[in-house]
């Protein structure tokens, strides 16, 4: 469970002070699938970076499973990100010199798993994403949709508590975007908590909760009901 209280993030550039998040109170539960929407510059990505510990708030608190992350040193945050979270970025963020399998296996190796075990779990994750036949391809040898699926495989291979996705469909065609959203749906049905930032309402409405951020504040929150 992630809880934020009065979350504030301010950027200072020379004399210009910009408050991007203006006191956000938020709570997510295990098994949630939350879509965060908002116009450009509203603060939705900044909010997700705070939740995922990629950035630190200027003020306010973030508690993850009862652990206050405010005073956490960077080394601890790195460990937290490695074990608790998985990330899917808009531009896939795969390491170009590693194969698909190695990209997926890297966090598993970093967790101290033996090479054989890490590669086996990475293979399973790739197979699940429909890429079991391309483990040895470099990212440059994969299409955008395939790269994003490798990225998702990397994010979920170590079974994180929360999967963060930052505009995961922004660079994909409709078919690939549908495939990604289908994977998210299946993962969530299996209990995976997902927090996704998107500007595409059609995909945002596939989540269970839709939060709209505007001018650094939560403007609205909606529970979405789907027929299964």
């Amino acid at each position: 469970m992630i809880v934020t209280k009065n979350l504030i993030r301010t950027f200072v550039t020379g004399d210009i002070v910009t408050q991007v998040l203006k006191g956000i109170d938020f709570e997510s539960k295990d098994g949630d699938f939350i879509a965060i929407m908002g116009r450009s510059g509203a603060g939705k990505s900044t909010f997700m970076y705070q939740l995922s510990l990629l950035d630190s708030p200027t003020d306010g608190t973030i508690t993850i499973d009862g652990v206050d992350t405010h005073t956490m040193p960077e080394s601890k945050r790195v460990e937290f990100r490695l074990t608790y979270f998985g990330y899917v970025f808009q531009d896939y963020a795969l390491l170009p010199e590693l194969t698909a399998l190695e990209n997926v296996a890297l966090p598993l190796l970093m967790q101290g798993k033996k090479r054989a075990k890490a590669y086996k779990e990475a293979t399973t994750a790739l197979e699940r994403m429909g890429l079991g036949h391309r483990p040895n391809n470099l990212p440059s040898q994969l299409s955008g949709g395939e790269q994003q699926r490798v990225s998702i495989a990397r994010a979920v291979a170590h079974k994180p508590k929360v999967l963060f996705a930052d505009e995961p469909t922004a660079n994909l065609d409709n078919e690939s975007s549908e495939a990604v959203m289908q994977i998210f749906k299946e993962l969530n049905e299996e209990g995976q908590t997902i927090i996704m930032v998107t500007h595409e309402e059609v995909y945002a409405r596939r989540a269970k909760r839709l939060i709209v951020i505007d001018d650094g504040r939560i403007k609205s929150e909606e529970k979405l009901h789907h027929k299964h």
Binding site: L54, D55, R81, L82, Y87, F89, E97, E102, R154
Partner: protein
Amino acid sequence: MLPLSVRIGFFLAVRQIRHASLWTTSLIIGVMVLTFLNLVVVSGILVGLIQGSIDQFRAQSTGDLIISNLTDKSFIENSPNLLTLLDTIPEIDSYSARYIETGSVEANYQTKRAKDKPNIAGTAVTGIDPAREDSVTGISQFVIKGSYLGPNDFDQVLIGSYLLKEYFPVESPGLQVLDNVDVGSKVRIQVGGVLREFTVKGILKTKVDEVSRNAFLVDSQFRSMIGRTDGNVDQIAVRLKPDADPAAVRDTLIRAGADTYARVQTFEDAQPKFLKDIVATFNLLGAAFSSIGLVVASITIFIVIFINAITRRKFIGILKGIGIHGRVIEISYVFQSIFYAVIGSGIGLAMVYGLLVPYFARNPIDFPFSDGILVAPIDETVARIALLVVSTVIAGYIPAWMIIRKNTLDSILGRK
């Protein structure tokens, strides 16, 4: 078992090197090779210039051991017993007993008019057993004109080239050389009060003063010239068998009492102090030149790794973002630096020991006072490799550390 961060760092380094541009990798390794050569060869040539002189001095003059008179004696007393002792030492391959006096050699005296300046030069005059001397110093191979002495070549002399104007055209008030002397010329040699005429049988030319500024006669004739009938000699040059330790043989001789009548020295002991000083100075100079090369290589590696890390800043951010510790990424850059330094040094090693050292041994650099070789002792080379690797690792670590400590999100998003 290696720590996890080292294993993952190595994994990342290998992947990065494998996919790096071949040109960039070749360029960096090329710089490393040049730096290594600069470290080893510059000082090696400088020291080799003197080492060549030392080696020649040993080969052509002192041998492995040199036995000479005590400072308060004019010759080695009890020489016959000492020579008998030398015959009993198994490590000794050969030795040459020498009679050495200072004297003068004069040419063209038959045609000289009363007002003419005499064609005369001061010189050391050495009486030798030609065969024994040749077995120790091999000086017969340095006869450039005429021929070497035989055992019965009485009234014949080998003249060093530094005594002849033709080979040593020096005009100096304190240094006289003989003009118009060639093989077959008659010369007069005066030692003490004795003056005798000789025919020049051969001309010797080496870069060792002790040989080239000398006149060699057959010992039996020279003994009668200087009136030495007791068998005592002035100097004994000793050649040891291969692998024999000169210091050990010296100590054996001293233990046997040889130092009672003579000074027993290894070739190193007998080296003039100024030679040792020059070697030390050249080592220092070589180190100074090399350190400049080392700094240049370090800066090159720094720039290359810095540019690499800057252009990969986003991926470094992603690595940190997905939970790879900064230490792991630093280690991966350290491994890359080690790779460049080790490969560069390896190629440099092969070039030095496989190519340059044998080449300079076969084709020494022709310096006026020595045949310069390339001196590259293994222990010093290993120390220089270690120095290169350490410098490279530091030069590779610093830029990686600078980039990695930047904010993770800023790196991912490409923000400054």
